[in-house]
Structures are given as structure tokens and as C-alpha cells.
């Protein structure tokens, strides 16, 4: 993961946002963290060509205005955005959400752990993986 590229976090829960921020800091991840509180805001950020495209999108599912699945559907049809890796980070255990996520071509589906330490491990794993893996851009 190119360290200058941002990580886009699409998440409405302030505490969950804090959890990601703290994890990123604790793990010494240097990528800037950009947050959008729902799908609409995320699209607005991405479509503004003055903003650099993120290295990875961390996507929550349950959000107001536009939820994660809707965002995913739109993003994966957008010529400019569809190759960006998206990892869903959610509390939802619904089979339907899992199905839709992969059906729409996301790269991962992680359940947010209750325990913060485990949460850090998740972020760590995502970061390690996407640092090892190449991306399209």
C-alpha cells in the first residue's frame, strides 16, 4: 500500500471511527485516514477529482442516506472507481449482506469484533495484506 495514498473509511458510528483511528495510530500506519459518514459523502469525495484516490476503502454497511451495499453497487460500476479494493467492515451477520458484498465484487468482509484488541488485529491484517498485495493503480 503506497503510504501517501489515503485510507477511505466509510462509517457513521463515531466510536467505530475512533476505533479505526486509534488502531491506525497504534499500528504506526502512515496512510492518511479520510472518513465519510455515509455512502453519499464517500461518493462525493471520490468523484471530486481534486482528491487522490484511496489505496483502500473500508466500508461499513449500515449507514443512513446511502448504505454500504448501495455505495458498493454504484462504485463498482464506475469506470474510475471499480478497481479500488473495498473491504467491508461491519457488525452484520446477515447472510444476505455477505452474499451481496461478494456478489458486487468487494475484496473482503470482516466482522467488527467486540473487543478492541481484536479490532486492532483486524486492521493490522487488512493493512498487512494490502501492503503485500499489488493493486491495479
Amino acid at each position: 500500500m503506497k503510504p501517501e495514498k489515503p485510507i477511505l473509511l466509510v462509517e457513521d458510528d463515531r466510536v467505530d471511527v475512533m476505533a479505526v483511528k486509534r488502531s491506525v495510530k497504534a499500528l504506526n500506519i502512515n496512510n492518511p485516514l479520510v472518513t465519510a459518514s455515509n455512502g453519499e459523502e464517500a461518493l462525493a469525495y471520490l468523484n471530486d477529482e481534486r482528491n487522490p484516490l484511496p489505496a483502500i476503502i473500508l466500508l461499513d454497511i449500515n449507514m443512513p442516506r446511502m448504505n454500504g451495499i448501495e455505495f458498493l453497487r454504484i462504485a463498482k460500476q464506475d469506470e474510475r472507481l471499480k478497481r479500488l479494493p473495498v473491504v467491508v467492515l461491519t457488525t452484520s451477520k446477515e447472510d444476505q449482506d455477505r452474499f451481496d458484498t461478494f456478489n458486487l465484487g468487494a475484496s473482503g468482509y470482516m466482522l467488527k469484533p467486540v473487543d478492541y484488541t481484536q479490532f486492532v488485529d483486524i486492521i493490522h491484517a487488512i493493512h498487512t495484506y494490502w501492503s503485500l498485495s499489488e493493486t491495479a493503480e
Partner: protein, 539 residues
Amino acid sequence: MMTESNQALYHEMLSAPSRLAAIQALNLVDSPAEEVFDRLTRLASRLIPAPVSLVSIVDAERQFFKSLVGLKEPWASLRQTPLTHSFCQHVVVSGEPLIVEDAREHPLVHDNLAIPDLGVISYLGMPLTTKQGVTLGSFCVIDTVARSWSEDDIETVRELARSVMTEIELRNEVHALKAANTNQQRSEERFRQLIETAPGAILVIDATGQIALANQCVVEYFGYPRDELMGKAVETLLPEPLQQAHRAHRAGFFAHPEARPMGSGRDLSGRRKDGSVFPIEIGLSYTTIDDETLAVAFITDITERKQLLSKLEQINQDLTDFAYIVSHDLKAPLRGIASIAEWFSTDYGAVLDEEGQELLGLLQTRVTRLQDFIEGILRYSRIGRIEEEWEDVDLQRLVENVISSLAPPEHIQIMINGSLPIVHGGRVRLEQVFQNLLSNAIKFMDKPQGKIEITSAKNRGCWEFRVADNGPGIEERHFTKIFQLFQTLNPRDEFESTGIGLTLVKKIVEMHGGTIIVNSEVGQGTAFTFTLTEKGKPV
């Protein structure tokens, strides 16, 4: 001259109840004259010849003339006389013919009032006796002068008397037949009424598929007037798409008739005259009348039942959704609180004094408790709603697994005494039962050497299981309380407990058709005993 003893004897014989009953049953007395009998008295009168001929029926008080020829008034109109005027009574009492050539000199009748009042001088009477031997009366010819009756006369009257009896008996048979017929008709009418007023629709269908009988309920269900239903092809009462298949089923049914519900597992519908469709349940039977096999269908309109079912399903679905939403929306902020409490502790723990740290600790345990609580509620609410397939469960292995997964501390020993049987039930549920009971026993164990024992015994067709420990015990006054939802006995800060576990155990045991009780002695230990039926009992 009739002596007093004679009179008594006569009275006794004439009023014998069986005799009177026979007369009554034949409807001869006080009945109008009939041509059949009049023909015979006229014949007698002409043939002998004699001016008077009678068919006389003698009851206890009088003689009644079913038929008469040649009697003078007022007797002809009265059609009867008291016994004082009766020669025929002698025929009845003796059961033999009475032949009188001159009554004035006959010892039996010389003082009979028929002589002065009716002018009877000579008499020839034959008994009218039934096949059962009851003499009803007499068939006689009478003259107003003395006659020496010839053998021919006697034989003629005898033959004619036989004719009268034949006639009487024939009429009786016809009467009996008519009565039987009326009874049968009445009985049929009763059954017809039963079928007609039955609370469900009853259809009788012949082998060609035509309706042979339909009761009132059919009319109400399907909206056809009765005359339109008769002879109609039964398929007309079904929605179009089902008609073809039904013809095939019908043929199969008549080939191998049997009483059974129709279309088990399928949703059946009927079609009304106006084309509207409604859900029905059909039971089939058959009967054979006069070598013809007929199918009988009992139809119930289950519209209301279906509505209730669908309402029930809706409620069930609502509950599921509710439970999910509640647990999900409650969990989210809880996670938040837990995270914040932890970060607070990490970031500012060093700055807090002892009291501050204790407060933070309490906050964290409260959050965990709430999370467990919600999880427990979810589990409890799932019990009734989520169907589990029942199977044969090897309890020995199941309990061994539970014990090893609980990993009891070294000072607590869990033993299975004997071997546990295989029962039929829900594996996961049964696991929860033992899991809860054993983990409770471990959690509350207060002795340095903890002993938990599991036993089973067969008792009156059921399996009885006992989980006993040597823990702190429970006071008797709490015995029923502990099974109640959210009840705990210890302050929650001492032992983390949702208070749901035992309620869950009780519910699961009851779902399997069993019961659970607790026995305990404070300081000594506790034993939970529950039963499971061998075959289980799906609720």
C-alpha cells in the same frame, strides 16, 4: 241361563288383554264398513239364504259389527250391541262354531235379549280366529224363524268365515308394511336431516363424477341452488387448473376406494358459482349402495383457519424481526461504550486515583453484563421459533463433550455414573441443558473438593436425569423462583449471571415433554432432576 261363575269366566276371557290388543291392532272395532267384508255378508245372506249376516267382533263390553246385512233399526245404524244381545260371544269363548236351530229352546241362549230385541230365532256362527289362535269374533247368519241348518249351510259359512279371516289378515299385513314403511321413512328423514344440517359440506359423487347428493352446506359454500348441483360434474366445483388432475384422481379413487384425507400436504381450493375461490379441506370416504360404489366427500371451508395461520406467521415474523432489531440496535452502542471505557482506561488510567479506577472497572463490567444479557435474550427468544431437526442423540458422548469444553478447574470433579442413554430430541437444545446445569454447578462451587455427578435411570417409560453437586445449595423457598426468567439468587456483582440459564433449561426440557425439579440442602449441595421421554414429544 248364564250363571254368575259363568259370567265371570266369560268376562275374564273376553277381556283378556292379549285378545283386546289383537283386536285393537287390527283396527276392526269402531271402523267404517268396508266393501270387502260387506261383499262376504251379502254373499252369505244370498247363498244360504238367510235374512241376516254379520261380521261380529266381540270385545270386553260389546259386539261390534264390522259388516252387517238385514239387521233392523236401530241396531243397523248403531252397528253394535251390548253383550246381553250377543250370541257371538259364545263362539268366541268356546272357539267353536255355534249352531242354533231354535234359540228359544237352546240352553245357552234361550234368555238372550237378541231374541226379543233383534228377532233372532236361529243362528249359525263360525269363529274368526287368527293364525295366533286368538278368536276375534264370529261370522254368522241369522234367521227370524227356526231353521235346521244343513251341512252345506255349515260348510258355506265356514268357508266364508275363512275368507273373512284371510281378508283381515291380509289387511293386517298391509297395515304392518305401511307402518314399517312409515318408520323407515321417518328414519330416513332423520338421517337426511342429519346430513342436511351437518356443519360441513357433504357431497356424494357417483362413478361418473356426477353429484348424487349435496347437503345445505354445499349450497352455502359454493353458491349454487340445490337443483343446479344435482347431476353436475363435481369438477365444476374446483378451480380450472385443478380440474384435469382431479378427474384422474377420481378415477384412481373409484378403482381403489379408501377412506382418507384428500390431497395431504397440498392446498386445496373450491370454486364458487361466481368464480371466486376459497381454501378447503377435504376428507374422502366411500360407500356401496345397491352394488354401486359412491364417493363421499366431507368439505370444510378453512378460510378462517388460513387467515389465522397467516396472521400467526406474520406475528412470528414480526417477533423475529423485533428480536433481531432489538439485539442489533442495542449491541451497537454497547460496543461503543465498551470501547470508550477501555480507551479511557488506557489513555487516562494513570491519572485516575483508586476510586476512579474502580468506577471505570464497574462501568466495564456493567457493559459486559448487558452484552451477555442481550445475547441471552436472543438465545431464549430463538428457542420457540427456530426449528431444530430432531434426531437420536447419544447423551453419553454429548455430555462428555460438554464436560471437556467446560474445562472444569482441577478441584472440581465431574463424573457420569453409569452410562447415559440415546434419546430422541434436539441435539443443540439438549446440549444447552447440560451446558447450563454443569456450568452453574461449576460457577457456584464453594467446596475445596467439588463433586458433580450425572446419573440416569429409566422410570415409568421415561428417562430421568440427575445432575447433583456438593455446592452451596439453595434454600427451599427459592426452589420455584430460580426457574423464573431473569431471577438470580446472588447479588449480580458476586456471580455474573444473566438469570436466563435455568429458564432456558426448563423450557427445553418441557419442549421435550419432560419436567424438571430441584432438590437441595443448604451447605450440602443441589440436585436437578429432569425427565425426557424416550421418543420425545415434539411440541
